[in-house]
Structures are given as structure tokens and as C-alpha cells.
């Protein structure tokens, strides 16, 4: 598991890449990815292209990000979700809270 983050040139969008298993082990790293940055982005993208697995604590972490990004007004997009990840997000009906692509 490895988490990297990069800001768009104008600092408006932060993209967080999650590689491997996205579970409780990623807790601190994932938080650091959006809390320890200089810019204050308006939009967030969580890139799940290389995420192999996602458990309920990962769902909790996504909710924390959403909360950080403004709760109901947050703009958080979950990008490049593969079949398994999409399935887990669908069971939890997270499409009601996030843009899923």
C-alpha cells in the first residue's frame, strides 16, 4: 500500500492515489495526504486505479475526507474504480455521497 498526492498547477484540485490494499493500515497516510499540504484545494480526486481492495474502514476514511472537504458541499470524486471497488461502493450506496467514475 502506498499513498501519494499531487496538487494541480493552480492548487485547486488535489489528487490522492491509493495503491494496493486500501484498509485500516492506510489510515494515517491517507489523512496526511490531504491534511499536510500547503494549498487549500476546492476539489478532491481519489484515484483508485491501482487499488486492489477496499474495506469498510476505507469507506470510513473517504467519509473523513468528505467531511474535511466540506461535508455535504464537498467535491470529492472517486476516479478509476475497478469492478470490485465499484461493487463495494455500490453496496454502501456511496454514489449518493461521492462522484464515482
Amino acid at each position: 500500500m502506498a499513498i501519494t498526492a499531487n496538487s494541480s498547477a493552480d492548487g485547486q484540485e488535489l489528487t490522492i492515489h491509493v495503491e494496493g490494499r486500501f484498509d485500516f493500515g492506510a489510515h494515517q497516510e491517507f489523512r496526511d495526504a490531504y491534511e499536510r499540504i500547503d494549498s487549500s484545494p476546492r476539489r478532491y480526486v481519489v484515484d483508485l486505479k491501482n487499488t486492489t481492495y477496499l474495506d469498510s474502514s476505507a469507506l470510513g476514511m473517504l467519509l473523513l475526507l468528505r467531511d474535511h472537504a466540506g461535508g455535504d458541499h464537498a467535491q470529492v470524486r472517486l476516479a478509476n474504480c475497478n469492478g470490485d471497488v465499484r461493487k463495494i461502493l455500490a453496496i454502501s450506496n456511496f454514489e449518493q455521497l461521492f462522484q464515482i467514475a
Binding site: L59, G60, L64, L97
Partner: protein, 564 residues
């Protein structure tokens, strides 16, 4: 400066011993001396020095053996050991290291080198002591934490397994690890005799899960006992969890509302894997998650819509936690839905289902499964179930015996308020009615939904033909209820004493058009007609039942005798 280090010198040459001990004493150390290995080991055990300088070749017991014994006696504590030898061969070097030597000092002794080595070893010793201290601290913290988790588990265990899980129509399987993982099972009889059942799965485990489980269970049991509807209970559970749990902690759950009399089940699934309805003809109907888990949405965004299914005697519902589907094998595959439904389909004997699932998981994974929560609820004849007494039935003081009250609930109230708990609470204060609580609740509930759905909202029960019509009916019901802006349902309650005991007269009227009395509208009790059951029940349970000529008003009566 703290206490000086104590250094043990083991050296058989008296001149070297004298020289070394003089150097170290002058440097401020406390010095112990031994002339051979055996003396050194004895002195070590008595005095527990902090550091040892050991000659390799000594009579009686050589330095290598003495070093081994000292290291063993020191245990986890680091006692640095410096061999006093001018090493001439790699073989000897290997022996020193093997015996536990940490460093070497060659003859002739050089005071500066000696001091540097002792300082380095003292640092190493302090480092090791700190590590041990921290390790012990962590171990104590961990023990403390484990103990808290044990307590949490015990509490959670009680909370998660109370209620009516032992009812004859409920079967469940829960591994200890799944319990600890925050899976919980709740079941309770409703005052009307039906049942509420919930399978929940908290994010996180141990303490956080137990913390969420308690208010959840409390709301579930208290509101079910008071006669609240499933939607109300779900709303309250969601609101309570949202209020108390930190963001990111939530509860995936499926809740069932079983009505034995009407042979119906209502299903709400938020975030759990598909549940399954097992029809008598072998058909499998999935009960997918339609909602976000409990504890995420704010009260006004929460959705309590559920799906309603008719359920024949002997038909079953199976619910499961994600641990079942996520059971992995050596190839990193998950057990998954397909394998699970295959087991469901091939099940012949209902009592064997869990055993078959367990076997399939064990075959798949190659070892015993430990993250499994399964629940099976069957439709049975409600009368066959042993139901615990309602609180109100357990007796108490003499209640009011002669009174009258009228309640009119108007559109705005009807949209979001369930009047039944309020009415029940009042009626259960009457001594003679307590033992009739179940029947009374059912009658009240039937009359209320009849007045609301057919009277106020004008829904046609003919819509309910067949399973799809059924769902459509309830969708339409919810839609109309949301938009309701006029109409009322009125309850008149009259309790009066009689010669034998007492009588309740309950009149329900509504703003609807009514129906033509005399036409057998509610008469049909055919197997596939789901609509007539409600009114037939009322006739059966009440001591007397009559409709006004315009069909807008219904009056039921219950009688009781004093010594009942």
C-alpha cells in the same frame, strides 16, 4: 551524576588484575575482581555488575564458558562483556562472539581506549534499558487495552445477543471473531406479535464497535417494545449514531419487519451484502442494499423507504455479513456471491443450511472460518411462537377504569407521526387490557392503516394483487403520504366498568369517502389476496366489530372480567 557503574574484572594474572582495577577505580567505577571464570559467575550472580571485563584463558573455568553463563543469568538485561585478549586468530574471535562478547580489548592496556570502550558500552546498556522499559510500558498498555477489549466484548456480547434471537423461527451463526469485529444481531417481538430483526456490522472493531452497538440496541428494543414502526426505529437509530459516532464510523445494517398475521416482511438494507428471500419453490430473491449505512446521513437526508414482500409459511430470509463473502483462499480469491447463492440453491433441509455454508467456506479456504455472521428468519404461524410478556403485561398498579378520550390526527401530523405508541401507552395503563396487548395493538394498527390508506389517501387494495403489485402499492402509499395536505383520522376511546369487569369501545373514523357496507369488500381471505387479511384479523381479534352504514366509521369492543 547517578550511581557509578559496577564493573566486574575476571582475569587470572594478578598483575593485570591489579593494573586494570586500579585504572578503573581511579576513573570512579566500583570494581569487583575474580581470578577465574567460576568466581566471575558467582560474583556476577551476587552483585549484578553493569559491565564485565573478561580474560579468555583462565584456570578452573575459562572466559568463554563464564561469558555464556553470565549472559544467560543476565536474561533480557544487557550486560556488556568485553574480552581481554590480544586476538591472534579468527577462530578465537569467533569463539568470543559466540560466547556473547560485545567487544575486545588488547594488552597492553591503553587507558584512553579502555575508557572509550566502557563509555560506548554504557551507552549501549542505557539504550537497551530504555528499550526494555518502553517495551514493558507498551506491554502494560497493551494488557490494559486487551482487558478493556475483553470488557467491551462481554458488554457487546450481551447487547448483541439479547432480545428474542432464540425464537423458534430465528437461526443464527456468529463466530467469536465476527462478534469482535462489530457484527451484531438483534431480534424483538413487537407488541402486535410480529418481529423486528436486525443484522448490523460496525466499521472498526472492539471498543468502537461496542460503543455504537449499545445505543443502537437500546433504540431497537425500546422503540420496538413501545410499538414504533420500523421506519421510525431506523430514523432514530440513524440519528442517534450520527450524533454520537465520529465521522467515518458507521453501521451497515439490514432490518426486517415480520408480520406473522399478514404474512409480510418489510426489508431495509443499508450497506450490507444482498440478503436473500428463499421461496418455497426454490426461487431466490435478492434483497440488495438500497441505502447508505446507518450513522452517515443527517436526519433530514435519511431515507427509511423499505421494500415489502409477501412471505408464505415456511419461506425464509437469509442475511449475512461481508465477512462471509470476503472469506479468502490461497489464490487470493474471495468466496463471493456466486458461491454463496449456489449453496443457498442446493440447500434441501432447512436445518442444515448453516452447516452447509460453513462446510463450503471451510472447503474454499482450507481452514475454519472465523469472520462469519449469518441469520435466517422464517415465516411461521405467529401463534406457534413463545413470546415474552410485554412490559405492560407484567402487571402493576390499578389503572384508570372509567374514562373517555378523543384524538384527531390531521394531515400534517399523519405525514410523519405514528400515533400508535401514544395510544397504546394510554390503553396499557388499563389493568384489564394489559393481557390483551398483542391483540389490541394489532387491531389498532389495522384500523389505523385502513383509515389512513383506504380512507384518507384513497388507495385501492386491489392494487396489492401479486408481489409486484404489492411493491407498487407501498410505493404509491409512501408517495401519497408525503404529499398529504388534508384529511384526518380520529380515534374515540371509551373505557367503562361493567358488572363482570370492563369494556373498551374504540371508534375509528376518517375523512375518506367510506365504502358501501354490505358489499364484501374486506371479505376475501383467499390465499393470494393480501388485502382482506387485515380486516379479517380485526373481526377475529376483537370481541365485537361493526361498521357504520356509510363505511366511514368502525367500532370495535373488547371486554374483560375483573379476575382476568
Amino acid at each position: 551524576m547517578s550511581e557509578p557503574l559496577t564493573i566486574l574484572i575476571a582475569e587470572d594474572s594478578p598483575a593485570d588484575r591489579l593494573l586494570l582495577s586500579t585504572i578503573l577505580t581511579r576513573e570512579g567505577y566500583r570494581v569487583l575482581t575474580a581470578a577465574n571464570g567460576q568466581e566471575a559467575v558467582m560474583l556476577f550472580e551476587q552483585e549484578r555488575p553493569d559491565l564485565v571485563l573478561m580474560d579468555a584463558m583462565m584456570p578452573v573455568m575459562d572466559g568463554f564458558e563464564a561469558a555464556r553463563q553470565i549472559k544467560q543469568a543476565a536474561g533480557q538485561q544487557l550486560v556488556p562483556l568485553i574480552f581481554l585478549t590480544s586476538l591472534t586468530g579468527s577462530e578465537e574471535l569467533a569463539r568470543c562472539l559466540e560466547a556473547g562478547g560485545d567487544d575486545f580489548l588488547a594488552k597492553p592496556y591503553n587507558r584512553l581506549i579502555l575508557q572509550a570502550k566502557i563509555n560506548a558500552m554504557a551507552r549501549l546498556r542505557r539504550l537497551q534499558a530504555t528499550v526494555l522499559e518502553q517495551r514493558d510500558l507498551i506491554a502494560r498498555h497493551n494488557e490494559h487495552l486487551l482487558n478493556e477489549q475483553r470488557v467491551a466484548k462481554a458488554v457487546f456480547d450481551k447487547v448483541a445477543h439479547s432480545g428474542s434471537l432464540n425464537a423458534a423461527n430465528v437461526r443464527y451463526l456468529q463466530s467469536p471473531f465476527a462478534l469482535f469485529n462489530g457484527d451484531l444481531l438483534l431480534a424483538a417481538f413487537k407488541p402486535s406479535g410480529g418481529m423486528h430483526v436486525l443484522l448490523g456490522d460496525f466499521t472498526g472493531h472492539g471498543l468502537p464497535a461496542a460503543i455504537g452497538a449499545m445505543p443502537l440496541a437500546e433504540v431497537f428494543y425500546a422503540m420496538t417494545a413501545k410499538g414504533h414502526s420500523m421506519a421510525e426505529i431506523l430514523r432514530e437509530m440513524n440519528a442517534k449514531l450520527k450524533r454520537i459516532l465520529p465521522v467515518g464510523v458507521f453501521c451497515c445494517a439490514t432490518m426486517l419487519n415480520l408480520s406473522f398475521q399478514r404474512r409480510l416482511v418489510e426489508v431495509w438494507n443499508g450497506g450490507l451484502p444482498d440478503g436473500y428471500l428463499l421461496r418455497l419453490d426454490g426461487e431466490l430473491q435478492s434483497l440488495p442494499s438500497r441505502h447508505l449505512p446507518l450513522g452517515i446521513l443527517s436526519a433530514n437526508a435519511f431515507k427509511d423507504e423499505c421494500e415489502v414482500f409477501p412471505l408464505e409459511l415456511g419461506e425464509r430470509i437469509v442475511l449475512l455479513s461481508d465477512g462471509v463473502l470476503e472469506t479468502g483462499n490461497q489464490c487470493d480469491e474471495m468466496f463471493g456471491e456466486q458461491r454463496f447463492t449456489e449453496v443457498l440453491r442446493s440447500n434441501r433441509e432447512r436445518g442444515q443450511l448453516f452447516e452447509e455454508i460453513h462446510q463450503a467456506l471451510t472447503r474454499f479456504n482450507g481452514s475454519v472460518q472465523d469472520d462469519v455472521t449469518l441469520l435466517e428468519v422464517s415465516m411461521v404461524d405467529g401463534a406457534s411462537l413463545q413470546r415474552p410478556l410485554l412490559d405492560a403485561e407484567r402487571g402493576g398498579q390499578r389503572g384508570p377504569t372509567d374514562w373517555r378520550a378523543q384524538y384527531e390526527y390531521r394531515a400534517q401530523t399523519l405525514r410523519h407521526f405514528n400515533p400508535l405508541p401514544q395510544l397504546m401507552q394510554m390503553l396499557m395503563a388499563v389493568d384489564g387490557l394489559r393481557l390483551k396487548g398483542g391483540a389490541l395493538y394489532t387491531v389498532l394498527a389495522e384500523l389505523y392503516s385502513n383509515a389512513l390508506e383506504h380512507g384518507v389517501m384513497g388507495l385501492d387494495s386491489a392494487m396489492k394483487q401479486g408481489a409486484s403489485g404489492f411493491a407498487q402499492y407501498y410505493q404509491e402509499r409512501n408517495r401519497r403520504l408525503q404529499e398529504l395536505d388534508e384529511g384526518f383520522v380520529c380515534f374515540s376511546i371509551d373505557v367503562s366498568p361493567t358488572e363482570q369487569g370492563g369494556r373498551l369501545r374504540l371508534e375509528v373514523s376518517d375523512s375518506g369517502e367510506g365504502f358501501k357496507v354490505g358489499q364484501p369488500v374486506q371479505g376475501s381471505t383467499g390465499r393470494n389476496s393480501l388485502s382482506g387479511r387485515g380486516m379479517a384479523l380485526v373481526r377475529q381479534l376483537a370481541d365485537h366489530c361493526a361498521w357504520s352504514d356509510d363505511g366511514k366509521r368502525v367500532c370495535v369492543e373488547f371486554y374483560w372480567s375483573c379476575n382476568a
